[in-house]
């Protein structure tokens, strides 16, 4: 079992091989993602309206999977960073760097759709509820991670620094969730609508799961595109540096 796993990871450790595999897999992934999203949207539109919220419950099908993906992307980012440190897999930091902007957009999407849902439901675009505040802090964790990548010029060094940040942030995410929850129950005994829980009806649950799978496939497809771009950008950078070297420092102006 571990032999298969190690063979898989070592095969994809070669960037050139990864590029060729990614190119072949991309159309299938995009097709699967778009098909699943389409099916999910159809199911969502055909699902019955909620007895309390009426038709505005439909935002749930966009909002909830986005929030799931926001958390999942951070886990992918932190996991890839950990793999980069422990196993020194060459593409691990590329994967982490590529996942970050996608995760940030999913987080922003969750926040925006959540606030649009909140206005008719709670009467406010934003409340300092535990979950909302944790998601906002998650967005800042993403932005800090992206900013650190942008601040350090050399890719390998940037990857290792960002990896440490991703792991430190990942350890902090449950602490933030826990502490913000605590803060919220201390200061705001709010009467917040509680929509989630296993008591959701199957006719509402299935479209949600399908949308979740569609979002995940979309994430993987986007991740592969970003990873390909990152590998090509590093190649271009190396070629530029070599050209400068060869021309004796005159450089390509």
């Amino acid at each position: 079992m571990s032999d298969v796993a190690s063979r898989l990871t070592t095969r994809f450790a070669n960037p050139a091989q990864f590029l060729s595999v990614a190119e072949k897999a991309a159309p299938w992934l995009w097709g699967a993602a778009l098909a699943t999203l389409a099916i999910g949207l159809v199911l969502a539109f055909r699902a019955p309206p909620d007895y309390q919220q009426g038709m505005s419950v439909k935002i749930m099908y966009v909002h909830v999977p986005a929030a799931w993906l926001a958390m999942m992307c951070y886990s992918v980012m932190a996991g890839a960073s950990a793999i980069g440190f422990i196993f020194r897999h060459p593409l691990a930091d590329v994967a982490a760097k590529s996942a970050a902007p996608i995760g940030a957009v999913f987080t922003a999407l969750a926040l925006v759709t959540g606030s649009l849902w909140g206005k008719p439901m709670w009467g406010a675009y934003w409340v300092w509820d535990a979950r909302l505040t944790s998601m906002l802090v998650l967005l800042f964790l993403y932005l800090g991670y992206i900013a650190l990548w942008a601040a350090i010029e050399e890719p390998v060094r940037a990857g290792r620094a960002a990896g440490i940040l991703a792991i430190a942030g990942f350890v902090n995410v449950p602490i933030i969730k826990f502490s913000v929850d605590w803060w919220n129950t201390l200061h705001q005994p709010a009467s917040v609508f509680r929509m989630d829980g296993p008591a959701i009806a199957p006719s509402l649950l299935w479209p949600l799961l399908v949308m979740g799978i569609g979002y995940t496939l979309l994430f993987v497809a986007l991740l592969l595109v970003r990873m390909q771009t990152e590998i090509l950008e590093r190649r271009a950078r190396r070629l530029r540096l070599e050209a400068v070297d060869r021309s004796g420092g005159e450089g390509l102006l």
Binding site: V137, F140, L141, L143, G144, A147, L148, A151, I152, R157, R160, A161, I164, L165, I167, A168, G169, V171, N172, I175, I176, F178, S179, V180, W182, W183, L186, H187
Partner: protein, 221 residues
């Protein structure tokens, strides 16, 4: 042990001497807290309500200000490479430097906090938890901030980047610290919150130097 003390004393002397030392952080703390009643209005009830959070946020920001200098000078003149060769090892070097920085820049804030508590009309029972919470939280601010400083070593104008990296990690400390003071204001015991804060602080004191040392190793290679 003596190497640890020697490093801490050296850093403390440097921090106290350089550019106003700890007093600059204290001045920032004071000025920020002075701006707030100008913006919010002088009503005592309002000020007493927002004082714990404000004092904590101002302390966090003041700690951030002094963190940029934590490793920068030693990194630039090569002293960090030499320190790395000492028998202390990375994490202890980080702890020694953070201890010195905290003594120079964080401790004045803790000592000055009761003055500002009185200026913000915080009542008597809330002041002791405020000082206690700051005493527990400020060392954690410095070690977590050292992670930000170590990650952005060599980055130009890294000050704001340190803030962006480190402020999300400060969130639990601000929350529990303010909860302790609020509990005392409302007549409940502050000890449980302070204990939770202490637990988080200890976690930070153990793990943040490890991460900072790993980050420093990246820049020193």
């Amino acid at each position: 042990m003596s190497a640890f003390i020697a490093l801490a004393r050296r850093d403390l002397a440097l921090a106290l001497r350089a550019g106003g030392g700890g007093l600059m952080g204290l001045a920032f703390f004071a000025m920020t807290l002075t701006l707030v009643p100008l913006g919010v209005g002088p009503e005592p009830a309002v000020l007493a309500r927002i004082a714990p959070g404000l004092i904590f946020v101002a302390a966090a920001l003041a700690a951030l200000l002094s963190l940029e200098r934590l490793f920068q000078a030693d990194y630039e003149d090569g002293g960090l490479d030499l320190l790395w060769l000492s028998p202390l090892g990375g994490p202890l070097i980080v702890i020694a430097k953070c201890l010195a920085q905290w003594a120079a820049a964080g401790l004045p804030l803790v000592i000055a906090a009761p003055v500002f508590a009185l200026m913000f009309h915080l009542t008597g029972p809330a002041i002791a938890p405020l000082v206690g919470a700051l005493l527990i939280a400020t060392p954690a601010f410095f070690v977590i901030g050292s992670l930000g400083a170590a990650l952005t070593l060599g980055v130009r104008r890294g000050g704001l980047l340190i803030a962006l990296l480190v402020l999300p990690l400060y969130v639990p400390f601000v929350i529990f610290g303010v909860a302790a003071v609020d509990a005392a204001q409302m007549g409940h015991p502050a000890a449980p919150h302070l204990m939770l804060l202490g637990g988080l602080s200890l976690l930070a004191l153990i793990f943040a130097p490890l991460a900072s040392a790993a980050a420093l190793r990246i820049s020193l290679d």
